[in-house]
Amino acid sequence: MSEITLVQAINRALTRAMRDDPTVVVLGEDVAKDGGVFRATEGLLAEFGEGRVIDTPLAEGAIAGLCVGLAAQGFRPVAEIQFTGFIYPIIDQMMNHASRIRTRTRGRLTCPMVLRSPCGGGIRAVEHHSESPEAIFAHMPGLRVVIPSSPARAYGLLLAAIHDPDPVVFLEPTRLYRAIKEEVPDDGASLPLDRAFVVREGSDLTLVTWGAMLKETMATGERLAAGGVSAEVIDLATLKPLDSETVLRSVAKTGRCVIIHEAPRTAGFGAEVAARIAEHGLLSLLAPIERVAGFDTVMPLLRLEQHYMPEEQRILAAARRVLAFR
């Protein structure tokens, strides 16, 4: 078996879900004939035909609303939004309908839809093509928010998202689409949607992150290890519902924590993680929590992008401050 990239893993999961379940349909702009902007849906049209793989007109709001209607009738639509910058009109449908159908109908109707979209920067593109809106969706009751950070987790989590009876916003780190390869058996096995992953075990410091920042965070872990510091790295993967237990267990062990994310700092999802630790793990803390995040500004064009992204040096500096605190 050969190793595959994250975007290939997405493709594999979509193919598997469509083979296993005839109610799964894929729709979006250029997903059928072109196979999607990043080729995540390549080959689906050929295998499943126009009835189940649908090129839509340019109309994000209606694409999302259509999914809610389809889902209410028992379908499992998987919509692709070309970049997260185009997802904002969809907030209306997600907030007012998708996330509330279960509550509003007292469980008589559900909304098993998945909204997929590439997210995050590091691809030399300004604004709309580099956004990290996970906290906006995490704020909505009735939605799951998932961000994979490896091909295997992308496969397992996407299958889980499609099987899940509730709406899932599935954000795919663009920067990782082709950055890493690994073996991903096409076994149809899904991963849990309410569990964080401890991707590196350690005892001196907890580093919490998700999505593309896992790369720099792991590198920081390695760098610290070279200096004799044992860092534990947690990939949240599912932001909502948040698996705070895994985070709290780690912090109880290490007493020190740095949270890393690419989205702007203020009201970023890191704030929620920090609050959970403050609420339930304050007494195990040996140092203040630090957040290494994007700035409260708009993702700039390429020449400033490197200054925006929380690179390894910034994570390392924060880790050292937290470790030095007495």
């Binding site: 007109p57 109309a59 185009f86 400033l304």
Partner: protein, 335 residues
């Protein structure tokens, strides 16, 4: 004297003067050469992000600007380099923005899709497909409120026409008789999706019928037709009769952006358009056969354009990169 009288004739849809025709030629050629260079710089890795070239569509914006008046305003999508040049924005500032340099129109922080010039009446440069349409309608509202006699040209693509906010805008513009000319640049494709595959009803100029907005389909590969129909549409809006829709039948030669799988159309289709309908070749033939100017004159223009583009390219590579501190500016007005 005579020139300005004739120029007024051109704006109201009369015949263009020889000088004006040469200006159209020059302006289209500037866009073509500028875009070719931008494509090269992109290939060399000097331009980041996205870069949507206007090659093939030059006659649309040049024809409309030929019909426009000083003070009219323009707004468009991300395929905007041609619009900026046609509005009279400096090629150096546009190219330097593409390369992300300090001398660019957005200080090197916005790039290809996000440039503005209040002086030249250019209100962007918008990356969200269709979102410029309500904004353009608002620009038109301002002209109407101020009764300044100016019109907004709001450009959108054949893909953008299917966004809901376009119809919300049409309704308001018609309801309040706003001076807006909606210019649909129908280049047959929205990324990889053809008009036939995306649109119920492919006569896009009729999309305003329910609101009572008149529309017309125009050969967008012919600058003279564009100017003439454009002048009539602008006059309609200027006279307070409300919005107008122009559907420009045009074609983009290059890929949607710099990466394009090109699976949605044949090489032959592209070659046929280039060979048989090229707007610049077409005007060139017109100029020569009607003796508007001779080969030597056209050569001079070629040379002049080449110099402008070279100077812009040099500037775009030499202008310094933005200072990292620029990351935090222009977010909110500092207190």
């Amino acid at each position: 004297m005579a020139k300005s009288a004739q120029s007024r004739a051109a704006k109201s849809g009369g015949d263009s003067t020889p000088e004006e025709i040469l200006t159209y030629y020059r302006d289209m050629l500037l866009i073509r050469r500028f875009e070719e260079k931008a494509g090269q710089l992109y290939g060399m890795g000097l331009i980041g992000g996205f870069c949507h070239l206007y090659i093939g569509q030059e006659a649309v914006v040049v024809g409309m600007q030929a019909a426009a008046e000083q003070g009219d305003t323009v707004i468009t999508s991300y395929r905007d380099h041609g619009h900026m040049l046609a509005c009279g924005m400096d090629a150096k500032g546009v190219m330097a923005e593409l390369t992300g340099r300090r001398g660019g129109y957005s200080k090197g922080k916005g790039g290809s899709m996000h440039m503005f010039s209040r002086e030249k009446g250019f209100y962007g440069g918008h990356g969200i497909v269709g979102s410029q349409v309500p904004l353009g309608t608002g620009l038109g509202f301002a002209h109407s409120y101020r009764e300044d006699g100016k019109v907004t040209m709001c450009y959108l693509g054949d893909g953008a026409i299917n966004q809901g906010q376009v119809y919300e805008s049409f309704n308001m513009a018609a309801l309040w008789k706003l001076p807006v000319v909606y210019v649909i640049e129908n280049n047959k494709y929205a990324m990889g999706t053809s008009v036939q595959r995306s649109s119920a009803g492919t006569e896009l100029y009729k999309r305003g019928v329910a609101y009572g907005i008149p529309g017309e389909r125009v050969d967008g590969m012919d600058v003279m037709s564009v100017r003439k129909t454009g002048a009539a549409a602008l006059a309609h809006a200027r006279e307070g009769k409300g919005p107008f829709i122009l559907e420009m039948m045009t074609y983009r030669y290059r890929g949607h952006s710099m990466s394009d799988p090109a699976k949605y159309r044949s090489k032959e289709e592209v070659a046929k358009m280039r060979q048989e309908h090229d707007p610049i070749d077409r005007l060139r033939e017109y100029i020569l056969s009607n003796k508007v100017a001779d080969e030597a004159k056209l050569k001079d223009i070629d040379r002049e354009i080449k110099d402008i583009v070279s100077a812009a390219t040099e500037f775009a590579q030499q202008s310094p990169e933005p200072d990292p501190s620029e990351l935090w500016t222009d977010v909110l007005l500092e207190a």
